[in-house]
């Protein structure tokens, strides 16, 4: 099944949809509660620092761990590949002449497909984590790292249990089902000859492992059978218990919103075990490489090895919420799943799923290990895009149109002149839209498209004489494609207001794209051309107070991506750094310059925080609007969650985009606001298009237009 079919199947799965939606809401609330009174940024910086080490440090930790456990008679095996690890574990089982192994939850064992291997050898691993057991019986794999069976309903579980036990199972009685698991798995612990666990920590100082669980199954798996096998990746090593406990502080909070799990267990090697002849447990440690040691030396991808497996990158991912972990990931799921699939299974396995990241950066800001997940995904997208190619139509458009600013200008102005048979005025708000896009597939028809502006922003800027306004105080404005070709009124509203405050606005001589569409599509060569085009068209910054943007995505590109793409070109790099430092969203400029306003009229207003305002430019206009509007302002639930636009993402993955937009619209309707303000033309295009399509009479305005129309300067 192709990825689009898989997405479609999951989007149509109402059970999955409701489970994930319910979880997304409740998780956020519990997580906030669990972290109450704590400094999340400080905590995650600490975890990041603990995990920030190179290969030689990890090997130093490993050697100490190994010496500590071998000293007391434990076995340590270094598995280069998943298959090596599987074989070793099978051999231990065979040596002990046991068919059964009880297993607590281990994502590492999912990574190496351990159960599959053992079953082929005629051995029986038994998953003891309830969710994992359900999936083992159903012959499925986890769709979430800490809640593996989140995609199942109680009725489905009842059916699975009834088929397995031959007993009647009440499909409504969850407690009853949990008791069935208790009964069957209790028997398993006592019949198994081997118990296996993963490890959340391998503490070098004493050679101990740490296990974080809620059910207590890891305690039983490591206690009852006479043999204990620990399967662990090298990245779980840490120096001492202080480091491990600093990670324990964040792991459950980020995973499920619990302050701590029911059980955290610290085990060192050879504990008493009456089932062994010598009365002492036989313990094996299988350290898995499978690419880890190589990537510890990689300047960027080593970041992925800081993951503590909390799953929070899935919990807050708007795209994951639409499709779940069977599509959004592979053996590992969520943002880290996209990355680890590429690193551990190879880029061929990851090339399609990487594209599903919309680029909202929420995961990077939520990761308790401080991993900038979205940047890693973006980097990998460029790698697979270059290696496997991208959509050929897109590639042509990027190469022959977007990367050639003059061509783009003439083509779009031609489009603007000849689009009239297709355009109409939208009744509810009087905006010019495309009445029907020819040949548009049904799934893409979830929002109205704005018509191209008959004149570009640059043309209007000169025509209306804004280029004649001079002052000692000057700012430079980069309009970006959306303002230039679709929404010049947003730019003009800003220029008008600044001129009124005595500030001169200069703009580039001609427009060029910031490169983000090509970067997001994994097309590095054209992205570079676009970035160079833009950089070369931007004036030197010395004479300006700020580089203003009305599109935070363009602003974020100048601040961040421009640096990556100019790193081999010192002159351009220097210019990019200087420009990046000056990038300022319009709202922030007004606040910094203490330009005061009072509200006109009595409309209720709410605000959508664009992803890249908050997470690329570190700004949200919410506080500003709330102070200007007072009681007329109402907070939008999940204001900083993506609207589902993501540029061409909304066409490539229209079903996901539409699903994310639906949620945004639900929240907008619930806010009862009459006007939605935001400060990104992309968000305006998406949200306004969706509201018009659904005929919801809420007016959408860019911050600059809103200020122009609804407030006055005081």
């Amino acid at each position: 099944m192709g990825i689009q079919d898989k997405i479609q199947e999951k989007v149509n799965d109402e059970i999955l949809h409701n489970n994930l939606k319910g979880f997304a809401t409740s998780y956020k609330a519990s997580k906030i509660n669990a972290y109450k009174g704590l400094d999340f940024e400080a905590l995650r910086t600490r975890v990041h620092d603990i995990k920030d080490r190179d290969l030689s440090k990890v090997m130093e930790q490993f050697n100490l761990f190994k010496a500590n456990v071998e000293k007391v008679g434990c076995k340590v095996f270094q598995a280069n590949t998943g298959e090596d690890a599987c074989k070793y574990i099978a051999d231990v089982m065979k040596k002990h002449n046991t068919k059964y192994m009880v297993k607590s939850k281990s994502m590492t064992s999912e990574e190496i497909l351990l159960n599959h291997y053992l079953e082929k050898e005629g051995l029986h691993p038994i998953e003891t984590d309830l969710g994992e057991w359900i999936l083992q019986l159903a012959n499925e794999h986890p769709s979430h790292m800490v809640m593996p069976a989140i995609h199942k309903t109680r009725q489905q579980v009842a059916k699975i249990f009834a088929d397995y036990t031959g007993e009647e199972v009440d499909p409504e009685d969850i407690t009853g089902m949990v008791l069935i698991a208790r009964r069957f798995l209790r028997e398993a612990y006592f019949k198994a000859g081997v118990g296996m666990t993963g490890a959340n920590f391998a503490v070098a100082k004493t050679g101990s492992i740490g296990l974080v669980t809620n059910e207590g199954n890891a305690r039983l798996s490591s206690t009852v059978p006479p043999v204990h096998i620990v399967l662990v990746g090298y990245e779980k090593l840490c120096d001492d218990f202080n480091q491990a406990l600093d990670i324990v502080r964040v792991l459950p909070k980020s995973a499920t919103g619990q302050i701590i799990t029911s059980y955290t267990t610290w085990i060192k090697g050879r504990v008493p075990s009456h089932k062994n002849e010598d009365g002492v447990k036989e313990t094996h440690y299988v350290f898995l490489d499978n690419g880890r040691l190589a990537f510890l030396e990689h300047p960027k991808f080593k970041e992925a090895l800081k993951c503590i497996r909390c799953g929070s990158c899935a919990n807050i991912c708007p795209a994951y919420e639409m499709v779940g972990g069977h599509v959004y990931g592979d053996r590992y799921i969520g943002s880290i799943g996209l990355i680890l699939t590429a690193l551990y299974q190879g880029d061929a396995a990851a090339k399609d799923i990487l594209k599903m990241c919309i680029g909202c950066r929420a995961c990077s800001f939520n990761c308790p290990a401080g991993i900038d997940l979205q940047s890693l995904i973006s980097e990998l997208k460029l790698v697979v895009g270059k290696k496997y190619g991208i959509n050929p139509i897109k590639e042509k458009v990027f190469k022959n149109v977007v990367a050639k600013p003059e061509k783009m200008k003439s083509l779009l102005s031609l489009g603007a002149s000849f689009q009239f048979p297709l355009t109409k005025t939208n009744k509810s708000n009087g905006e010019k839209i495309i009445s029907k896009v020819p040949l548009l597939p049904k799934e893409m028809d979830f929002r109205k498209f704005p018509a191209l502006s008959s004149k570009t922003f640059t043309k209007l800027f000169h025509k209306d004489g804004y280029d004649k306004f001079t002052s000692k105080r000057k700012v430079f404005f980069y309009p970006g494609c959306a303002i230039e070709y679709f929404y010049p009124e947003m730019g003009l509203a800003m220029v008008k207001l600044l001129n009124k405050s005595g500030i001169q606005v200069d703009i580039p001589k001609s427009a060029a794209c910031c490169g983000i569409p090509a970067i997001a599509s994994g097309n590095p060569d054209n992205a570079r051309t676009m970035i160079f085009n833009t950089l070369d068209r931007l004036n030197d910054v010395e004479q300006y107070e700020s580089l203003l943007v009305l599109c935070p995505t363009c602003g974020g590109a100048i601040k961040h991506e421009f640096l990556d793409f100019t790193s081999n070109d010192p002159d351009r790099y220097k210019k990019a750094v200087l420009l990046g430092d000056m990038v300022t969203p319009f709202g922030k400029f007004l606040e910094d310059n203490k330009i005061h306003f009072k509200v006109k009229g009595n409309k209720t207003v709410t605000y959508h925080t664009p992803c890249h305002d908050e997470r690329s430019l570190n700004y949200s206009a919410e506080a500003f609007l709330s102070s200007v509007l007072g009681k007329q302002f109402t907070h939008l639930t999940d204001t900083n969650v993506c609207c589902g636009f993501g540029g061409t993402y909304s066409l490539d993955f229209s079903t996901i985009s539409n699903g994310i937009l639906d949620k945004k619209i639900e929240n907008i309707v619930a806010s009862k606001a009459e006007i939605l303000v935001t400060d990104c033309p992309g968000c305006v295009m998406q949200i306004n298009g969706g509201l018009m399509h659904k005929k919801v009479p809420v007016k959408v305005l860019h911050l600059s237009e809103f200020i122009d129309k609804y407030v006055e300067q005081i």
């Binding site: 489970n19 409740s26 007391v72 008679g73 003891t128 984590d129 309830l130 969710g131 359900i134 809640m147 593996p148 069976a149 199942k152 109680r154 579980v157 969850i174 407690t175 089902m177 949990v178 008791l179 208790r182 209790r186 028997e187 006592f190 503490v203 100082k205 004493t206 101990s208 809620n214 059910e215 207590g216 199954n217 305690r219 039983l220 206690t223 009852v224 001492d240 218990f241 202080n242 406990l245 600093d246 499920t256 302050i259 701590i260 799990t261 029911s262 059980y263 955290t264 267990t265 610290w266 085990i267 060192k268 090697g269 050879r270 504990v271 008493p272 075990s273 009456h274 002492v280 447990k281």
Partner: protein
Amino acid sequence: MSELDFFLDKSKLVGNDNQILSSTEFLTFLEKEDFEYVNVPSFNQLKDVQAGEAGIKNALVELDYAIAETGTVVIDSLNENKRLATCLAEKLFVVMPKSKLVSRLNDVADFIEERTSDMGGYVAFITGASRTADIERVLTVGVHGPKEMTVIILNDL
């Protein structure tokens, strides 16, 4: 908020029954209740049993430390019968001399290190009953281990 209040707050949050008793009251309580497994060295109370597949009704153990930050009890469980009892009892009772309360997780780092320095070590943090939310995210207790947990805080020790 005092550290004990903080502990009680977190312990309550996970559904524990918390009782504050004096040593005398505790001894009376001990006489009334019938425990299958007891390991309370502070009162020289020991009753050994090896819990098996059928499990045991209840167990009473003394903790080594309690952590206010998370409402956690810390129990050295190297002794195999103690480990089995705390894993397999239907109801877990933990005796907590108030003086064993520390404020943060990191305050027990040295203790874990010491107890895992020899041939084997098994230090358990327990914060509530055995729980799962794996079916439709509905919280259910007693999936493998104890279905109830009681913390008896001795305010004069």
